[in-house]
């Protein structure tokens, strides 16, 4: 009974990603889309907090949004997976519910 959480805001500007991570349950998936993908980068002021979460929840970033923002694969945090829109659909189908953190 897992949830797919989506986050579409930059974690450097807005608290949504942190609030999402604080409410996600073990085994949930947090999908970063749109400006949310900035949360998937390594070497940032938030990286440690993100890595600490990655053991509890699956962290995924939407590749088309990473590409748009010029975030190369080499810059992604350890443990962050990527997917495309087809994979986004599969994630939504394979989880029991979805929750958008707007």
């Amino acid at each position: 009974m897992a949830t797919l959480h989506t986050v579409n805001k930059s974690p450097f500007a807005n608290q949504s990603l942190l609030s999402c991570l604080a409410h996600a349950k073990d085994g949930d998936t947090v999908l970063m889309i749109e400006d949310g993908v900035y949360g998937a980068a390594s070497g940032t002021g938030l990286a440690d907090a993100m890595v600490a979460m990655a053991s509890r929840v699956a962290l995924v970033a939407l590749q088309p949004d990473l590409n748009a923002r010029g975030i190369a694969a080499a810059r992604l945090l350890d443990g962050v997976k990527t997917t495309d829109y087809a994979g986004f659909v599969e994630l939504a189908a394979s989880h029991d519910r979805t929750q958008a953190w707007l």
Partner: protein, 136 residues
């Protein structure tokens, strides 16, 4: 699913008036009440500001919709989960929120509080127990 009843959760994470999301969320709740689903409302992060007392919008010219929360009981919307950690961070307590009640017709029409203060972990449990989550 029992009798095609789904669990609907309305998640309110934004402050009122600066943007319209809080008001338009409430408009969905009122319409949705006619559908006989199992409805809950969640107030966390800045959403807890929606429930505060003594809102007076006269000077900003925007409609004050906060009294409508007190009418939710009449629509059989009786479960308003409010996150304690969100209140704490904002310097608020239950006393700063409006009194919102509903009449339990199965219990001699006793007035019962609709607001249920929950911890962040309990809020996560409430969220994980839903069929449909509407985010505002």
């Amino acid at each position: 699913m029992e009798d095609d009843v789904k669990k609907f959760l309305y998640v309110n994470r934004k402050a009122p008036y600066g943007t319209i999301y809080a008001l338009e969320s409430l408009e969905v709740v009122l319409i949705g009440a006619a559908f006989d689903q199992d409805v809950s409302l969640a107030f966390l992060d800045d959403g807890v500001f929606q429930l505060t007392k003594s809102q007076d919008t006269k000077e900003i010219g925007v409609k004050n919709f906060s009294p409508t929360f007190r009418a939710l009981g009449d629509y059989e919307v009786t479960k308003l989960y409010v996150e304690k950690e969100s209140l704490d961070e904002r310097g608020l307590t239950l006393d700063d929120l409006q009194e919102i009640t509903w009449e339990d017709e199965d219990d001699d029409y006793e007035e019962k509080p609709s607001i249920r203060i929950v911890t962040r972990a309990e809020m996560a449990d409430v969220m994980a127990d839903q069929d449909v989550i509407l985010s505002f």
